[in-house]
Amino acid sequence: MTGGGVTRLGRGATRMVFDLGGLTRFGAQVADSLRRRPLRLRRLADEMFTIGVLSLSIVLLSGLLVGLVLGLQGHTTLVRFGAEDTLGAVVGLVLIRELGPVLTALLVTGRAGSAVAAEIGAMVVTEQLDGLRMMSVDPIDFVVKPKALAMVLSMPLLSALFIVMGVFGGWLVGVVFVGGDPGLYLSSLESAVRFREDIGGSLLKAFVFGVLVALISTWRGFTCRPNAAGVSAATTATVVMSSVATLIFDYFITALWRF
């Protein structure tokens, strides 16, 4: 490796350590703001609408399509083993344990996380955050807290809806398209899913992904350079960092939760 390569590697590592430190400190400030009153419920409701409700269409559509594909692939595979009666269990468990929370997090990152970073970044550029500071209003409390909280609350709900639509998509394929038994589809699903291991783990994942996307998107926007290129970089970094963090944490939660 050349000297220049080592230098770049060192700079990259140093920047990563600084970034992790900055993100941790920012996370602590956001957590601290959650303890403070007022809760800003009106702003929270607005953000729940922007982040949660406006993400519904893409999450529901994606859930349905993923369920349809899972149904087709699952049925094709299970028929080989004469186990097509377990299609409901396969589709349901794959969605609940894995695809529901992960794909929802990736979709919300692309639709809402990037928008949050861009919006806060634009507020940096136009000095709106400094304007708040000059009014003795903490921008983390006023701007970041409602957005982050809305993201964290929305993620499990969206993930649950994604799973419901996915199960419905699998049912469409397994029951309507290939003529399977509707009772068997649902009973295999019901008997296979365990509340703590599957539903609990799914909600935990969605919650953790919500925290990750919320922190990364708000932090990237909050610390972006005050120009157009800075906002663009913050938006891109939000999508990349959130996606990678989601997949890394997915592995560790799966390993630790002992599915």
Partner: protein, 261 residues
Amino acid sequence: MEPSKIESSSGPAGVVSPVHIEVEGLRFNRGERPIFRDVSCGFLRDRINVILGGSGSGKTTLLRMLGCLLRPDSGAIRVDDDLDLTRLGSSEIKAYRRHVGMMFQGGALLDSMSVFDNAALPLREHSPLDEAEIAREIRHVFDSVGLDGVDDLLPAELSGGMKKRAALARALVTAPDILLCDEPFSGLDPATVRLVESLLVDVNERLGVTMVIASHHVASTFRMAGRIVLLVEGEALSGAPDAFRDHADPRVEEFFAGDLV
């Protein structure tokens, strides 16, 4: 080099305004580039103080330091002789800012909130007033800056002049002791410059607030300023407007270059 080479007396004959904010030996680098080498100057109480200087001379930087949005590398900024802004903790900064209003260059109004809600924000956050009392206060301030019929508009729906006035209204709504204005005339046509200028003068006379204005608009500065602080080469030259008209310092002559009449 002495920080002030120009007479610092100011104000109407026989009246000596005490210094409200005193800046002493400020040094500040942005990266490798020195912005302030040794800036010392004073801003007079209840008067209009204008910071002049070329692009990149540090006008906005100095203003942001007065608002505690930026810390100098060294030096002191004293308010009322005893409060050194460069040494304040975060809670003290919050307390100080309750007495300071700031009008940003682009307005810095929250673009997701109506003009009324923008102006009402500091009152809703910090005052015990109920909504009816807040509405009365806002109406009063809007009247004083000539804003009418814009309550429900978003900042993006305002013209440049209206946006400046809305920003001024928000800065004034808490009746600050100090008003910081960053380039209040930028992007305005000459008629609107006159309008905003007369508004600032009127506010200063009626409310007796100490104003510090960062501007590059020489004509309006000489019409309204009680004191001018000229930033050149990382230093400050300060004094009354008249002191700058006949000054022999080549840096002063070069900056004004025919703008003085």
